[in-house]
């Protein structure tokens, strides 16, 4: 695939420093990496190693103190808050550990949400979401509200929402952490399938060795630095 040669994300010596009281922590400390289209990459590391902070930087949610981040060819550190929101809307899908969904919207409306923001017409939205629901086993749950769904179902809706908007990459911060292992494994199956079928780029973080084993690439973080990348 030619797309492999073009990185979906690139970082150059990014650093993020948090100050709490008189202590400063370099949560991400000089990370340089490239993630290519179609990758299924895992970021692993102990608690506090900087996984979430790194994903936030890659996802244009946070600004680095030093270094640069590119998404496709856009350097995001120079963008305004509004421009970054636009970039997230068009290029990045997010899946969090929990509380991913908008309470007042149904499963279908949640999955449509990013398309709605993108200005996709209603019939097109509905078609794409219905198709995706079918693919990932959410058929029949369209009109349920988030609190009427199980944790695994909620995470699937979040995946559907991310994927239908055709992002350049999907960032998932410990997507299986709140799920039992069977449900977690099923969720990873879905992600992996989508990665292979549609070629969606996934970057996810995890503590779980069973999850790491699924990754096509494993980036190990320790104290905010890349210790190992293969």
């Amino acid at each position: 695939m030619t797309s492999h040669s073009k990185p979906a994300v690139r970082t150059d010596s990014v650093r993020k420093i948090f100050k709490s009281g008189d202590q400063t922590v370099a949560a991400v400390d000089g990370v340089t990496l490239e993630i290519h289209r179609g990758e299924f990459a895992a970021i692993a590391g102990p608690s506090g190693s900087g996984k979430t902070t790194l994903l936030n930087l890659i996802g244009a949610l946070d600004e680095p103190d030093e270094g640069k981040v590119w998404i496709d060819d856009t350097e995001i550190t120079t963008l305004s808050r509004g421009q970054r929101a636009d970039l997230r809307k068009d290029k990045i899908g997010f899946i969090f550990q929990s509380y991913n969904l908008i309470e007042v919207l149904s499963a279908l409306e949640n999955a449509e949400f990013v398309l709605l923001l993108q200005g996709v017409p209603p019939s097109e939205r509905r078609r794409r979401v219905t198709e995706m629901f079918k693919k990932i086993g959410l058929e029949g749950l369209e009109n349920r509200r988030p609190h009427q769904l199980s944790g695994g179902q909620q995470q699937r809706v979040a995946i559907a929402r991310a994927i239908v908007a055709s992002p350049s990459l999907v960032l998932a911060d410990e997507p299986t952490a709140n799920l039992d292992s069977a449900t977690g494994a099923a969720l990873l199956d879905v992600m992996q399938e989508l990665n292979q079928e549609i070629g969606t780029t996934f970057v996810f973080s995890t503590h779980d060795p069973r999850v790491m084993d699924r990754a096509s690439r494993l980036i190990r973080l320790v104290d905010g630095k890349i210790e190992d990348d293969h």
Binding site: T52, L55, N56, G59, L61, D62, R81, G82, A85, D86, L87, R88, K89, D90, I92, F94, F96, Q97, Y99, N100, I102, E103, V104, L105, F113, V114, L116, L117, Q118, G119, R161, D173
Partner: protein
């Protein structure tokens, strides 16, 4: 805006029905109190104005130039100017708006009976032209309104005056008044007694026929003013200007003054302005407090929803879309409250407009302001534009209360959603 926030905002509103209900209720009560108090305030003012106008010199008074600046000396409208004024009132553009006009001659004098004597104000009037417009004929409790019987000129006197002079229907009284440099006296027969409830008026006012008073003061054809009554009091300023303009071209010599009731009764006008200002202040403070309460509620709700706004930002919602969403929610809340308040306020207004609010338990049978007495029954009345004004004001307050929370919501840190 491509993103339609209305449905989401509406649902957000019902996530906490009790909070929404209570916040809307605050606005509802504010609007309800505002409309009710405006209705009663306007109703009271309108009644005062109406009483003032009908007891006094009409919506518009045409009088000799400078009549108000001369003390002690009576100025009269010349015959030419009187007929010019009548002509203007009968002209095509004005006639339709005038309910009636009454020429009057004013004098002061001493009224005596066999028992007593007292200082009085005398009004010479034409009964036919006073009927249905002036208040005095309606307040007659005994006898007739200056109907001629026999040769002695008839007089209509106040009930207080009748008591003081110890006279009744049919009694003879003598009016002494100045005619030029001489004192003239005239025998009158009491043919009617009125009671307005205003002590000042009931003890001091005497009404006689215009031609009789003209004869006494030896000024045939003279009048002090022409009182003009309109069909619609709100048209006063416009018609005053028009009458003034036309009269200026028709008049001979110095044109008569044409004054609106506001100019003719400045104390009443001032009272209403001050009373209105007091009402505005009270309502302003009330609504300000309601708004602060609502602001507090919205702000708390927004701070509670940090995670949700953060998620929306992560998904690519624009900060200004979040601002819009919060403002839309608040405006929906305001609309709900204002709608309920409008319904309650309008209902109360309609009730008091029909049945009136009896304030007798709070005050005397009638009370008097700026020389005008108002009886204690107040009928609600709303000046045009009051409702629109109230609703726009409350909409503005709802907007103002939501602005800061909405901007705060837009500033939510998008990484909030990624933690724990």
């Amino acid at each position: 805006m491509r993103f339609n926030v209305f449905r989401m905002s509406w649902r957000n509103l019902w996530r906490h029905p009790r909070r929404t209900f209570l916040t809307a209720l605050a606005f509802a009560i504010g609007v309800f109190l505002l409309i009710t108090s405006l209705g009663l305030g306007d109703g009271m003012h309108e009644k005062m104005i109406d009483t003032g106008i009908r007891m006094g010199s009409g919506h518009i008074v045409i009088e000799p130039e400078g009549a108000r600046d001369t003390i002690g000396e009576q100025l009269y409208l010349s015959k030419e100017n009187t007929s010019a004024a009548e002509q203007v009132l009968a002209s095509a553009g004005i006639r339709g708006e005038v309910r009636g006009s009454a020429p009057r001659l004013l004098a002061s004098g001493l009224l005596s009976s066999a028992a007593n004597s007292t200082g009085v104000q005398v009004i010479g009037a034409i009964p036919e032209r006073e009927a249905n417009i002036a208040l005095l004929p309606e307040k007659i409790t005994k006898g007739t309104f200056l109907e001629r019987e026999g040769r002695t000129p008839p007089a209509l006197i106040g009930s207080g005056l009748a008591e003081k002079l110890d006279v009744d229907i049919g009694s003879k009284v003598v009016l002494m008044t100045q005619a030029g440099s001489e004192i003239q006296s005239q025998l009158l027969r009491v043919r009617g007694i009125f009671s307005t409830g205003m002590e000042q008026v009931d003890q001091r006012l005497v009404s006689v026929r215009l031609e009789d008073l003209q004869a006494v003061v030896q000024r045939p054809g003279a009048i002090s003013h022409l009182a003009v009554f309109l069909n619609d009091s709100l048209r006063t300023p416009a018609l005053r200007a028009e009458i003034d303009r036309e009269l200026t071209t028709l008049a001979e010599g110095p044109a008569p003054s044409v004054l609106s009731w506001r100019q003719a009764m400045p104390e009443l006008d001032e009272f209403i302005i001050i009373d209105d200002a007091g009402n505005y202040l009270f309502n302003g403070v009330l609504l300000f407090m309601v708004t602060l309460g609502v602001l507090n509620t919205i702000l708390m709700a927004v701070l509670e929803r940090k995670r949700e706004f953060s998620l929306l930002l992560c998904l690519g919602m624009h900060p200004w879309q979040i601002t819009t969403m919060v403002i839309v929610e608040s405006m929906m809340l305001t609309a709900l409250g204002a709608g309920a308040g409008l319904a309650m306020g309008w209902g109360t207004h309609a009730y008091f407009a029909k049945y009136g609010l009896d304030l007798t338990s709070l005050m005397d049978q009638s009370f008097s302001v700026a020389g005008v007495s108002v009886d204690a029954m107040v009928y609600s009345y709303l000046y045009p534009g009051r409702i629109e004004w109230t609703l726009s004001f409350v909409a503005f307050l709802g907007f103002a209360a939501s602005l800061y929370p909405a901007l705060r919501a837009a500033r939510t840190d998008p990484t909030e959603a990624t933690r724990g």
